[in-house]
Structures are given as C-alpha cells and as structure tokens.
C-alpha cells in the first residue's frame, strides 16, 4: 500500500491505496464521488475526465498515486454555495445533454477549453472536445452550450 494525499474539490484527502488503483476508482469508490463516470475504461471516451492541477485528464488512465500532492476537480466541485457553475448552467439552458452519461466529462473538458481560450471559435470548441464521446450523439447542443458559456463570460 502507498499513501496518497490529494486535494479533491478543495479538501485534502489522505488514504492508503494499492498502487494499481486507478484515479477514477479512487474518486468513485474511496471518496464516493460518483459524478465521474467510467465509460470505455480504455482512455478513449472521456466520461472519466477530471481536472488535474487545472488540466483535463482521463482519470481511468492514471493511477491514484500519480495524483499524490496534486489537486483534482471533479464535477461535484464546480457548483459553489448551491449555485451551478456557469458551464453547468449553460448545459442546462441549451439542453447540452440527453442521457447525461458523458456530461460530467464534457463539462470539465469544456471548462479547460475556455480557460485556455475564452474566445474559442465553434471549430476550436469542436476540436477541443475530440476526446469526449457522446453516446446519444448530442454534439450540436453541447457545442452550443459551450458557446453560450463563453458568450456569457464576456
């Protein structure tokens, strides 16, 4: 077992874990943060996307020990004081979700896109979301939602 200390959504957490424990399982099973989904479990679909020190990563392709000493933001960490994050609100307003399975990953990837480029074009948003698959194929409204969030932030 190895000790990991990770700041998750602003709170420091320390646990003894097996080195082979994946970050996504640490979040879901150890911390009961089940908003981060396991989709393909092969690093392709992006349902498990979280922010690691602010950068979008696929938590099914990282060991929990790799996050030691670092900061993780999951979908549960976006809302503040009972109020949805602007990106969550935009997904709500623009109907950027159907079944909702890809949504946490989509929202966190979208946050990173606008963090890096607040004026991202539609094409840049689409390219930026290439690592997130929507099984309902609801991409158009997802892109609209990100555009709406960008617009609102201006």
């Amino acid at each position: 077992m190895t000790s990991v200390t990770v700041t998750v959504n602003g709170a420091s957490k320390t646990h003894q874990v097996e080195p082979r424990l994946l970050l996504v399982h640490y979040l879901r099973e150890t911390l009961s943060l089940t908003g981060t989904h396991v989709g393909c479990d092969t690093g392709q679909c992006g349902a498990c996307t979280v922010l690691l020190d602010g950068a979008a990563v696929k938590s099914c392709s990282l060991f929990a020990v790799q996050a030691d000493g670092r900061s993780v933001t999951t979908i549960e960490g976006l809302a503040k004081d009972g109020k949805m994050h602007a990106m969550q609100d935009a997904f709500w307003q623009e109907h950027g979700l159907q079944c909702g399975f890809c949504t946490p990953g989509m929202i966190l990837s979208a946050c990173e896109i606008l963090e890096r480029n607040p004026r991202a074009s539609e094409a840049e948003i689409r390219t930026g979301l290439e690592g997130n698959l929507c099984r309902c194929t609801g991409y158009h409204n997802i892109v609209k939602a990100v555009q709406a969030a960008a617009q609102k932030a201006r």
């Binding site: 994946l22 690093g43 992006g46 690691l52 392709s61 990282l62 390219t127 290439e130």
Partner: protein, 324 residues
Amino acid sequence: MRHFSYQRAASVEDAVRAGPGAAFLAGGTSLVDLMKLEVLNPSRLVDVSRLDLRGIEARPDGLRIGACATNSEVAAHPEVKRRFPVLSEALLSGASPQLRNVATVAGNLMQRTRCAYYRDLATACNKREPGSGCAALEGWTRMHAILGGSERCIALHPSDMCVAMAALQAVIHVRGPNGDRDIPFGDFHLLPGDHPEREFALEPGELVLSVFIPFSAAGMRSRYVKVRDRASYAFALASCAAGLEIASGKIRAAQLALGGVGTKPWRVPEAEQALQGQSPERVAFQRAAEIAVRGAQTRRDNAFKMELARRTAVRALTLAAEGA
C-alpha cells in the same frame, strides 16, 4: 491488473539505479493502458514524472526538450511552433487533449504498437510473447505496416510525434548505469527482424532525459499531413512530415519521413537527397514519394497504403513548399 510495487524516484540517479528490471512511469497513457490489458506486466514501477525533466530550452544550435514535457506543452511552445511547425502539428494530430495533457515526450518515443493482435492475449504475437507466432500475418492487416516488417512481425509504429522527430533528425539523450549517451533518432526504434520483442536501442536501466532537435531552415518550413479514417482522434493510415529549405527557386535541403506505414518512423534519406537541387514542384515530389515507399510489401487489407502514402507525401511536400 496485476500487482506491482511502486516507487517514486527522488533523482535521475535514483531512477537509473532502480531502473534495471523495472518500468519507468511518466504520464502512463500508454503503459497504464497496456498494464490493464496485461500485455505489459512490470513487477516494479519507478515513477519519474516528478523529476526535473520537463523543461524546453533553446540552445544556440537547437532545442532541447525534456523527456517529461507533455505533448500539450511541446505543441504549444512558441519556439517549437516557430522552429518546427511540423512537430507541433504532429502532436496536435495525435490522441485527444486529455491524453496530450499527460502524455510525455519520452513516453511517446516508447509508445507501443496498436496492433490488435499485440493487444489481445488470446492471439499469437511474437512481440508480446516471443516465439508464439504472428496472428497478423494471416489476419486483418488494414492497420499494419507495409515497410520494415519481417516474417515475425508487421506491427505498425503508431506515433505522430516520432515521424516529425525522425524528419527533423532529433537526437535522444539517455542516462544509464554506464553513463550518458546520445542516440540518433533513426537508431532508437529497432526493426522487428527476428526479435520483434526488442523495440528500442535502450540498455537495461537506461532512462531518456531529453530530445535535442537541431535548428534547420527546412525545419522552419515544415508541415505534417495525417490521413485517417475519421477527422479526429484516430491513428494514421498514412502520414508524412516534410520540411524544405528553398533558395533561388531550388530545394537546398529536404526532410522527409512517413508514418502509418512502417514498423518504425520511416525516414528515407535517399528521397531527401533526390529532392536536393530540384525545383519545388509536383514532379520532384512524386519522384521523392516513389523512393520513400520503395521496398514496401503490402498485404490483402493494406494494399491501398502504397498510393495513399505517396499522395500524402506529395501533399506534405507541397504544403511545405508553400511555406508557413
């Protein structure tokens, strides 16, 4: 996934000491994936991701890129975009943002093949299990190599970054139990031959510290073209890194490497030489492309790659000639 022991290297020396018999972990995007499949089963992991190996530094004669710089960092670096546009383009054409945020230069150098048989424990694979045979030879070969294969392995090299670095004639700096050495890019990846399980020219315990890319006029006028089954997030069917130095209407120097077709990143110096002194026009590009795929052996499902690779090379050379 099988159990393994994990240790975090405190220094490069510490990592090199612990190295023999262990696998180095940087971003893990390739290694973790293959450990999940139990294709790779290291009993010890030495985490080198916290070492000071992330810097990108301009030297008088070239750019030195730390082994643990992420694909995102390298692709976005102003000096990389200015000096080696082909490298930035190649990196951005690979994987997805979340993987590029984690995947490192050294990890990409050592990216394993995506051969479906290599990844499937139920089939024969000489690379995964030496001597077991090669299911690909009689299998579905659409995504397999047409250059550099042997009777034991035709697994395709999947990297985009490596194609650009091959064209740019990068040099890989490593440290091992016996000290430091430099490996020319073309010598780093091994052809499968009789031993497809040997993939890299690394000695046990050797750790990649950095990659040096020499500045060149051709590098500044370089482009990457990647052709794939869908517009994003797919491995190359064929790709080409091309750079041209043009003076007084003639090609003074050329850099050319193909991806998606070889068992290793496929640089062809003869094709580069054939371009020297020529006008940067289609007829010269076609001749170079012809030379670049010389010796190709196609199979049932990948015969199309011959023509596709030639056209991809002509396209990349045309874009390079047009300039950035």
